[in-house]
């Protein structure tokens, strides 16, 4: 990815705009210039490539799973192999793709630019996080190579302590990934606190940064608990220490408390940055100031804090006490409110706007649709009595795919298409972009909506085989999955094509008011020659479309020093 002809072609990009003579891609060349780079932009790109690779890998596993489930009985793989498939699909997608997802790939690239800083606070730590990520990934791949693991991504004891598949490499890999995540969060918090240039006060920060900040809080506070949990699990397997293993006097339900104390906040590590991306895309493509900036920012922090109080809703039938069930059910409903608030604010932002249905906006809209379903089906699972029936069925599977895939990953692709011109200096084909967006949307619903129905009828999750009664639902689901896969291959196609043949991107193709669009595409090595003056990040009215040159320009006289910020 490093040395594509981008650099050469970029010349006309400069001729057209304010592109720096050399950008972060051309600044240095060769493998080492990437492997040892401290530049947040290059680290972001390296993360992006790794993420997309693992997304492909996890996706292929999912295809195998869906192929096996097309009809009852075992056709393609054995039962134990199937269990390894869904375990690795879950582990790879959760720990290698979705949790790091938006913050490390898009966040790393955009955060300092949006802030008007030259880099993150600790560039070396940033690179270290990346290599921790790689190391953790290698451990998980090693586990696959040496016969896989079949515990499910939740590693519940005592199954995980008794199965004779090799759990330890995977668990250790996840342990390492945890620290990668902690250091990224730490880095972001310090950057946002200490590296804001003069004029960039808290309420001039784009909402994406607010969401990254909230995410980082969770990463720093929750991930260590995952660390100790997995550490104890490793010790449990290696030395049978007997803290979580009932056979030795331990308490398996305690393990579940530990696991979910991290893994539920982790759901918000996944979805908060997604909400941040949407909060950037919707105003930009509606050419309108975000509605209720303060409410959206506040709700991000509220979600971050509340997310620590709801983990028990994964344990309503696990032997958790009725008292615990009541407490956690109540908190769970509480955390639903801020999300609802965000959705309404996004709608109000579109009201009376000038809405352009370009690819990022298409993804943002399908986010609203899919996350709407995902969030609302969460209500069924927060309601105690209905959760007893729906827990551990395909209803849950569908629910979290609507949230994680339909929420986080769709927003990830919205962001990818939104910042693609900035990252690569190339425009992609709008037509193909729109087409794949539609195909993903249709395929996704076809895949996962039937799973709600069969789940409500009692189809348990993690079943390698199923009663014939559920066959039609599974068939539909598999068809949808294959359609989605095709759509993603299409996306890969036109994005790769854009890298080489794409039209050079202007500095501000979408007409966004946040700072990253004030530097050239792709940005120069040290981001900003002069630290830009931060204004209201959503004061889009002052940007006028320059039809002649084909991009947006701040028209000087209309430049209201948008301090209003719509906040505070």
């Amino acid at each position: 990815m490093s040395d594509t002809p981008i650099d050469v072609r970029n010349a006309d990009g400069q001729a057209a705009g304010r592109a720096a003579p050399d950008n972060y891609l051309t600044h240095a060349r060769g493998f080492r210039s990437w492997a040892f780079t401290l530049d947040h932009k290059r680290i972001g790109v390296m993360y992006l490539v790794s993420l997309l690779f693992f997304f492909f890998l996890g996706g292929m596993l999912a295809m195998l799973i869906r192929a096996e489930l097309v009809e009852p009985g075992m056709q393609i793989v054995s039962k134990s192999r199937y269990n390894e498939l869904f375990t690795l699909h879950g582990a790879i997608m959760i720990f290698l793709v979705v949790i790091p997802g938006i913050p490390v790939a898009l966040g790393n690239f955009v955060l300092p630019l949006m802030l008007g800083a030259r880099d993150v606070a600790f560039p070396k730590l940033n690179l270290a996080s990346y290599y921790l990520y790689v190391a953790g990934a290698l451990f998980m791949l090693a586990a696959i190579a040496f016969g896989g693991v079949d515990t499910g991504w939740t590693f519940y004891t005592p199954y995980s302590t008794t199965t004779n598949t090799n759990v330890v490499p995977v668990v250790f890999g996840v342990f390492i990934l945890g620290f990668s995540s902690i250091f990224t969060g730490l880095n972001f918090i310090v950057t946002i606190h200490k590296l804001r240039p003069p004029g960039m006060n808290w309420f001039r920060m784009p909402l994406f940064l607010w969401s990254l900040y909230a995410t980082a809080i969770i990463q720093v506070l929750a991930t260590p608990v995952l660390g100790i949990t997995l550490l104890l699990l490793i010790v449990e397997r290696a030395f049978h220490i007997g803290i979580f293993d009932s056979a030795l006097g331990g308490d398996p339900v305690l393990f579940q408390h530990f696991f979910w104390f991290y893994s539920h906040p982790a759901v918000y590590i996944m979805i908060l940055p997604a909400m941040g991306v949407i909060s950037e895309v919707i105003p930009t493509f509606s050419r309108k100031h975000i509605f209720g900036y303060g409410a959206i920012a506040a709700s991000s922090i509220a979600i971050a804090v509340l997310s620590f109080l709801v983990w028990g809703h994964h344990m309503f039938v696990s032997g958790q006490s009725d008292l615990g069930n009541m407490i956690f059910s109540a908190f769970t409903f509480a955390v639903a409110i801020p999300s609802a608030v965000k959705v309404f604010n996004w709608l109000a932002t579109m009201y009376k706007g000038s809405i352009a249905l370009q690819t990022p906006m298409l993804y943002a809209l399908s986010f609203l649709f899919l996350f709407g379903i995902g969030g609302m089906t969460g209500l069924f699972l927060a309601t105690l009595s209905t959760d007893v029936h729906l827990h551990d069925t395909y209803f849950v599977v569908a629910h979290f795919h609507y949230v994680i895939m339909g929420g986080t990953m769709i927003a990830f692709f919205a962001g990818l298409h939104y910042w693609w011109p900035k990252m690569t200096g190339r425009m992609y084909s709008e037509r193909l972009g729109a087409l794949s967006a539609w195909l993903v949307f249709i395929g996704f619903n076809l895949t996962f909506f039937p799973q709600f129905v069969m789940g409500a009828h009692g189809m348990p999750r993690r079943y390698a085989d199923y009663p014939a009664q559920f066959e039609p639902y599974h068939l539909l689901s598999s068809i949808g999955a294959f359609l989605m896969a095709a759509a993603f291959f299409l996306m890969a196609g036109y994005l790769l094509h854009a890298l080489r043949r794409g039209r050079p991107a202007p500095p501000n193709p979408w007409g966004s008011a946040t700072l990253e669009w004030q530097c050239a595409s792709p940005p120069p090595y040290d981001n900003f020659a002069v630290t830009p003056q931060a204004g209201d990040p959503y004061d889009l009215e002052r940007l006028r479309y320059d039809a002649a040159r084909g991009w947006y320009d701040p028209d000087e006289d209309a430049k209201s020093a948008g301090g209003a910020g719509g906040a505070a």
């Binding site: 730490l186 606190h193 305690l254 408390h257 530990f258």
Partner: protein, 307 residues
């Protein structure tokens, strides 16, 4: 995690201390400090998990903790506490010396801190060794070994008196130990089988299916069966040692990590890398070392001073 630690310290080791993306020393110092505090936060939550395990089993099985903590040697634990507190003091002093640019003082104090850390680990290893020798371990490795009551010169040093007779203070005198174990003579090194445990072992699986009720009756009935055996021994004592080794073990790992970082600081100080204008790494190392101390300050009463 300590190597990450040092790498986060690492930047700025070489002059110019000010990195390109910081506008001034103040900003860099503040960033480093905040970063370190956030790292400490994650450390606290890491140990928080273990404290949660502790609280959980302590709250629901007090009898296990009261019975088992007697195997721990309060004297050695206390000494270690003092050692660690003193090392914390020398570390704080070292930071002060660094701030004032007193290089020799800095070197000496760092060396002292390192020494204290070594002492701590040394004493800990003595304790571990004693536990190992007496089979006071976790899970299935919990096999209390009967020793001749006055086993002299056991490596466990101060631990001998308590560990020698694996019976709690209010328990039968050591004389009753052979009585309890009956046929299998309890020579040193041979597992001492508490009748109390055996009864449970045999009644457990079958009776479990009948519910706590059935089991309870089994336990109630288990006392009269063989009088004179060690009935005070509660069940699942091994859990205490699991918790003990998990907590002290992870803490020991952090001590080692801290010592590695201190050693690095010592080298840098010897090379004269620090002056009154640049001492952030020493400062941050100090923060980490103090946290290790803070954790132990809680571990000591929780594990050794149970009543």
């Amino acid at each position: 995690m300590h190597d990450r630690e040092s790498s986060s310290l690492a930047h700025g080791e070489h002059p110019p201390h000010l990195q390109h993306h910081f506008s001034d020393e103040q900003q860099q110092l503040d960033s480093d400090k905040l970063g370190m505090w956030l790292f400490l936060v994650s450390e606290i939550l890491l140990f928080g998990g273990l404290f949660c395990v502790y609280a959980n089993y302590r709250a629901h099985h007090p009898e296990v903790f009261i019975y088992a903590h007697r195997y721990l040697d309060t004297t050695l634990g206390g000494i270690n506490t003092v050692v660690l507190i003193c090392s914390s003091f020398t570390m704080a002093w070292a930071v002060r010396a660094a701030q004032l640019g007193q290089r020799r003082a800095l070197v000496t104090l760092l060396a002292l801190t390192l020494l204290a850390g070594l002492t701590f680990l040394g004493i800990k290893s003595v304790e571990y060794e004693a536990k190992w020798k007496h089979g006071l371990l976790w899970g299935t490795h919990y096999r209390p070994v009967a020793e001749e009551p006055a086993a002299p010169g056991s490596a466990s040093g101060g631990a001998a008196p308590t560990a020698a007779a694996p019976t709690p203070a209010p328990a039968p005198t050591p004389a009753s130990v052979p009585a309890a174990t009956g046929a299998q003579s309890s020579g040193a090194g041979q597992p001492l089988r508490q009748g109390g445990q055996w009864i449970v072992e045999h009644s457990l699986i079958p009776r479990a299916a009948q519910g706590p009720a059935g089991l309870a009756s089994g336990l109630a009935a288990s006392q009269p069966v063989e009088p004179g055996q060690i009935v005070e021994q509660p069940k699942n004592v091994q859990v205490f040692f699991a918790v003990y080794f998990a907590m002290t073990g992870l803490h020991a790992i952090h001590v080692i990590a801290g010592m590695v970082v201190i050693a690095i600081m010592l080298l840098l100080a010897l090379r004269g890398r620090f002056d009154d204008g640049y001492y952030t790494p020493v400062d941050l190392t100090g923060l980490f070392w103090h946290l290790v101390d803070v954790i132990w300050i809680f571990l000591f009463p929780l594990l050794y001073l149970i009543r």
